[in-house]
């Protein structure tokens, strides 16, 4: 018994001391040694073949971090480090010459590509962001109207860090549905598709005197990895109607007596696209069901009547159709399949698809759309009549 207990105690002591020996982690990185990157921007450098990478590093404790060296104003809680290289990874490692440590990109929220680079093609630059083990596939991808570094420089008012602010902007696209979020995995998925055109939100800087503001102005359209054009806000919503990704937004239609405007908020959208091949012609049957609420009106006429509703609903459906057609016309002009019609055909008619795939650029502009919109007003919010003199008393 005594021997056994002794042995047990010996074992316990041994285990206890092992705690000290075995706790050592190889490759450990302490929090104050980390250069936490929250956003990255990639631009073309002046010298050909080179890229300019800008990484936004968080300064933990603004006061204690003055040793950064040339990162802008003293009170900024971030530091935009830039470096040059032939490729992204070279530039990332080159950056250690300035930071003294490897970048820690696990918390990276956004990757912004400069306009020049996007036009030249993102295929060769996207690989690092998918391959690097610290990089998350949920990071958002954006294209700057001009220079990515300028976008990362604009200090937001309410948020402390520009990259976090941009991430927030992209995430809340649903209020207007004028652009939509695209993460690394989605972008890669479109890049891998032989027909679907990848897209990314376009972000620009508005200079307002001293202040700089960030603004998302639409979407950049890519074809074969190269940026070929952009969609404006209405066109993007036209696209999103078809994809069923419209979360919310504002639709303005004239009132039945044409004296003012009825303003509707989109509440719920459902869409269904069924491709059809008839006598060699490709037809896309798009069915959209939209629910909205009457959120504002600018006339004294009471719009909360069944007759008025019917007219507004018709007008709404017309607006939606026009938006879709605008988007489709633009995509025909760019000859880029932003809707993913090719993939839809592929999934339904995979035998015919083999012939279509090679000539897709020729076929795509000949596609016909058959749009059927069903619009409903389901509520009028807090008012059932406008605050205006009652017409019935006369």
């Amino acid at each position: 018994m005594g021997k056994k207990t002794n042995f047990l105690i010996m074992k316990l002591i041994l285990c206890f001391f092992m705690l000290f020996v075995l706790s050592g982690c190889l490759g450990e990185r302490e929090i104050n040694d980390l250069e936490i990157v929250i956003g990255m921007g990639v631009d073309k450098d002046e010298s050909p073949d080179n890229i300019l990478l800008t990484a936004q590093v968080v300064k933990e404790g603004i006061a204690g971090k003055s040793s950064g060296g040339g990162g802008g104003g003293e009170d900024r809680p971030f530091w935009n480090v830039s470096s040059k290289g032939m490729t992204i990874f070279e530039a990332v490692r080159q950056m250690t010459h300035k930071t003294g440590n490897r970048l820690f990109i696990s918390h990276n929220q956004v990757v912004i590509f400069g306009n020049d680079l996007a036009k030249e093609g993102l295929q060769k630059y996207i690989d690092f962001f998918l391959r690097a083990h610290e990089m998350r596939p949920t990071a958002f991808i954006l294209v700057a109207e001009d220079k990515a570094s300028a976008v990362m420089d604009a200090k937001p008012e309410t948020e402390k860090l520009p990259a976090i602010n941009i991430g927030k902007l992209v995430k809340t696209y649903g209020f207007t549905s004028h652009f939509y979020k695209v993460n690394m995995k989605d972008f890669a998925s479109c890049l891998m598709s032989p027909t679907t055109a990848p897209m990314a939100p376009l972000v620009s800087v508005i200079e307002n005197g001293e202040d700089k503001e960030i603004y998302v102005s639409g979407m950049a359209v890519f074809k074969k990895g190269k940026m070929v054009g952009k969609l404006n806000e209405d066109e993007v919503r036209g696209l999103l109607w078809v994809l069923g990704e419209v979360k919310s937004g504002v639709i303005i239609v004239p009132t039945p007596n044409e004296q003012g405007k009825a303003v509707l908020e989109i509440v719920k959208v459902k869409s269904k696209v069924t491709p059809e091949i008839k006598d060699g012609k490709i037809m896309m049957n798009i069915k959209i069901k939209e629910d909205s609420s009457l959120s504002e009106q600018t006339t004294t006429e009471n719009l909360a009547t069944i007759e008025a509703f019917e007219k507004i609903q018709e007008a709404t459906a017309e607006v939606i159709k026009q938006e879709i057609m605008k988007a489709f016309d633009k995509s025909r002009e760019l000859n880029a399949d932003i809707f993913g019609f090719g993939e839809m055909l592929h999934k339904k008619y995979h035998k015919e698809w083999k012939n279509l795939e090679d000539n897709w650029d020729v076929i795509y502009p000949t596609i016909e759309l058959n749009i059927d919109v069903e619009s409903k007003i389901i509520k009028t919010d807090l008012l059932k009549k406008p605050a205006a003199p009652n017409e019935g008393k006369k």
Partner: protein
């Protein structure tokens, strides 16, 4: 008689087989690159094809009660040929074990701890397996249900967390790929996760009662296959077209989990679950290898062989491949070929020969 004195119940056999098959959840990546969105069909087809073979293992074990594969081979194919076939099996066990140990190492250095030396994981991991094996099959059987539940929890929870990102149109079109690729996929699936259950021929002899063995084996295989199916469906639905490019599809789909920006970075769930599951699988493989070798050489106990064989396995695992690239290439192309006779030919053939020669009865009378 058999070298193992421990006894397991046939219910434990169910958990052992289910956990063993489930442990191959990450290995379906070998198929995904070939069969893309049709992986789920390939798994189902593989299950259907393999089931009769696996049931033949049970039938074989039942007709030679209390005996393991090496003894059965000796009896059925004769002393010399039996030994040769047993050696072939031992080669298969040892190679598969080292590949699986290597999987763990690759998992860790690719996804979890990049800077740690590769060999370190192999040694620590194999030492743990060796420890488990010295405790005998009974202990492994007793923990098997915990292991199965852990794996199932990880698979179902990640499935549920990813439901909002699933797009089931990713499974379309249903029949697109050329048949040759589907066949290769079926071959991989039926050899790797399902066919490897041939190791249970070394274990089934330890069963105390063989009454429900067939039923339990079948359901064990089914539950294991279901978990693989869940994984395949989750990965295809979430990743769609991109599923062919990632080093590990499961890891990549789990990295996409993002619920309210709070439930993110769930890689650790699959890291933990997979480590536990592969530990279980490797322990079974190491046990089987050790028992087979000791049986072949007629040792009284297998315990002295555990450490030396574990050390050899570590060395094989560390040196056999240069990178995951040749690991995948060799497994997809060569690995599934040399295991074919072991998985699909010898056991049913042994059953047939035993039936023709009326072996068990005659031999049992002689007894050893």
């Amino acid at each position: 008689m058999s070298i193992e004195k421990g006894k397991i119940s046939s219910q434990q056999l169910f958990f052992l087989i289910a956990g063993f098959v489930e442990a191959s959840a990450l290995l379906i990546d070998f198929t995904v690159g070939i069969t893309e969105q049709q992986t789920w069909m390939v798994i189902l087809a593989g299950l259907i094809i393999t089931t009769p073979f696996v049931l033949s293992y049970v039938a074989l074990a039942k007709s030679f009660p209390g005996m393991n594969l090496v003894q059965i081979n000796d009896m059925v194919y004769g002393r010399f040929l039996g030994k040769v076939i047993s050696l072939y099996y031992i080669f298969f066990f040892s190679m598969t074990l080292s590949f699986n140990i290597r999987d763990v190492g690759e998992l860790y250095i690719t996804f979890l701890m990049q800077d740690t030396p590769f060999i370190f994981f192999l040694i620590v991991f194999t030492a743990t397996c060796a420890y488990a094996v010295t405790k005998g099959i009974e202990v492994l059987a007793r923990i098997s249900h915990l292991i199965l539940v852990t794996g199932f929890f990880a698979i179902t929870s990640t499935f549920i967390l990813l439901i909002d990102q699933m797009d089931f149109s990713n499974f379309l079109p249903f029949f697109e790929l050329p048949l040759i690729r589907i066949f290769q996929g079926i071959h991989i699936v039926s050899s790797i996760p399902f066919g490897e259950t041939v190791v249970f021929l070394m274990i089934m002899g330890c069963m105390n009662k063989t009454e429900h063995a067939v039923k339990n084996t079948f359901f064990g295989l089914l539950i294991g296959a279901l978990s693989l199916l869940f994984v395949a469906v989750r990965n295809t639905a979430v990743l769609g077209r991109t599923q062919t490019i990632w080093t590990s599809t499961s890891f990549q789909s789990i990295r996409l989990i993002n619920i309210g920006t709070v439930l993110t970075r769930m890689d650790f769930v699959i890291g933990i679950a997979q480590t536990i599951l592969i530990f279980f699988k490797c322990s079974i493989f190491l046990y089987v290898l050790v028992v087979a070798v000791s049986q072949l050489f007629g040792l009284k106990s297998y315990v002295p062989l555990v450490l030396p064989l574990a050390a050899i396995e570590v060395i094989i695992a560390a040196t056999v491949f240069q990178s995951p690239v040749d690991h995948a290439t060799i497994t997809q192309n060569a690995g599934i070929i040399y295991s074919v006779p072991l998985v699909f030919v010898f056991p049913p053939l042994a059953l047939l020969i035993a039936k023709i020669r009326g072996l068990p009865k005659v031999e049992r009378g002689k007894g050893t």
